[in-house]
């Protein structure tokens, strides 16, 4: 507990940054199409963490975004659901047409 003293917005931002970077690296390195999708989810959550931290009245008594941060976070959650639905449909189509989920095999437009 004495390790971090009192919590500030920066700690939440740090957690969000780590989640964002983990998601970005996951998107870049995974060969499984579903793994890439999981990376996208991590990135969106890292961004959401920042909105929540800046909108928190507990962490920032003055100058906080207030409800705006939470509203944007809600929109991000809804759009992530929509994105997952479409991306999953594309992934299943890719799997049906190519019999694989390896993204490296999707190279037909390679010049």
């Amino acid at each position: 507990m004495l390790l971090i003293g009192t919590v500030s917005v920066s700690w939440y931002l740090a957690v969000g940054a780590v989640l964002f970077v983990l998601g970005a690296v996951c998107m870049a390195t995974k060969r499984n199409l579903l793994g890439v999708l999981m990376g996208v989810e991590l990135v969106l959550n890292g961004a959401n963490m920042n909105f929540i931290a800046f909108g928190s009245k507990v962490l920032r008594p003055e100058g906080s975004l207030g409800l705006d941060g939470q509203l944007i976070a809600l929109f991000v959650i809804v759009l992530a659901a929509a994105e997952a639905a479409v991306a999953l449909a594309i992934a299943l189509n890719f799997y049906n047409n190519h019999n694989t989920v390896d993204v490296d095999r999707a190279n037909e437009l390679n010049g």
Binding site: A28, N32, I52, S56
Partner: protein, 246 residues
């Protein structure tokens, strides 16, 4: 419960460390695991811990929505995708070593920049003395719902151009998101539907379709065989029955 919170001043730090460690730790699990089924499970735990951090930051409604929509809806959808595609070759997939090296360099430098920015501003890194008076539960569902209809009950005291005339409400984004969800779900259902077997045009799709056709044919054959086996006693003249050939 109140007594514990009052008696122990470090509860916020304590739960922050627990939730942050599980969120980041299982995030690393998603990144480092090769098994796609385990990755999905680690992602569920990581996003659940993120919801815990939302609760801790005072955003109870968003935390509940994170659990219900994200963990309960989106990730279940993702796990269904994993179940539909996790055939024997695709469960474990190795990443190339050069990809790991490049991604570690780029990700590490990105993390350095982001952490530098996160701790750079004095306004953000000022420690807040979180006392119990600030943390008592606020009812946020009603202000959030009214803000989605364009009424900002949390800004009633404010004046100024930005707040007047309902400009600060979220009615328009709400409508856009609603239409967007409708379009997206219709499009996803249209794209993911099972297609009829048609004449093949190119190599790879024709191979896939041939495989599908074979699988369907096999299942039909299986049905016929089970029919024969179950009806052997009753229908001696069944043309499908191999005993009739003698």
């Amino acid at each position: 419960m109140d007594l514990i919170a009052v008696a122990w001043p470090y509860w916020h730090q304590f739960f922050f460390i627990i939730f942050a460690a599980t969120a980041v730790g299982f995030g690393f699990g998603v990144l480092l695991s090769k098994n796609v089924v385990r990755m999905a499970f680690y992602l569920v735990l990581s996003l659940g811990s993120t919801a815990g951090l939302f609760f801790l930051a005072g955003a109870e409604f968003v935390g509940a929505m994170q659990l219900m929509i994200y963990v309960g809806g989106t990730l279940v959808l993702l796990i269904f995708g994993v179940m539909l595609t996790a055939q024997k070759d695709f469960i474990n997939m190795d990443t190339h070593t050069q990809d790991w090296i490049l991604a570690t360099i780029v990700g590490g430098s990105l993390l350095m920049v982001l952490l530098f920015a996160a701790f750079g501003a004095d306004d953000w890194s000022t420690p807040q003395d979180i006392n119990d008076a600030q943390v008592e539960a606020t009812k946020e569902a009603t202000p959030l719902g009214l803000a989605l209809t364009g009424i900002r009950v949390d800004k009633l005291g404010d004046s100024g151009d930005a707040v007047d005339d309902g400009k600060s409400g979220y009615l328009m984004p709400f409508i856009i998101v609603s239409i967007h969800l409708l379009v997206v779900l219709i499009g996803a259902a249209y794209m993911a539907r099972t297609k009829k077997l048609s004449h093949a045009t190119d190599d790879k799709s024709s191979r896939a379709k041939l495989m599908l056709f074979k699988m369907e044919h096999e299942s039909e054959q299986l049905e016929e065989e089970t029919y024969v086996v179950t009806h052997r006693g009753k229908s001696a003249l069944n043309p499908l029955d191999p005993q009739n050939e003698n």
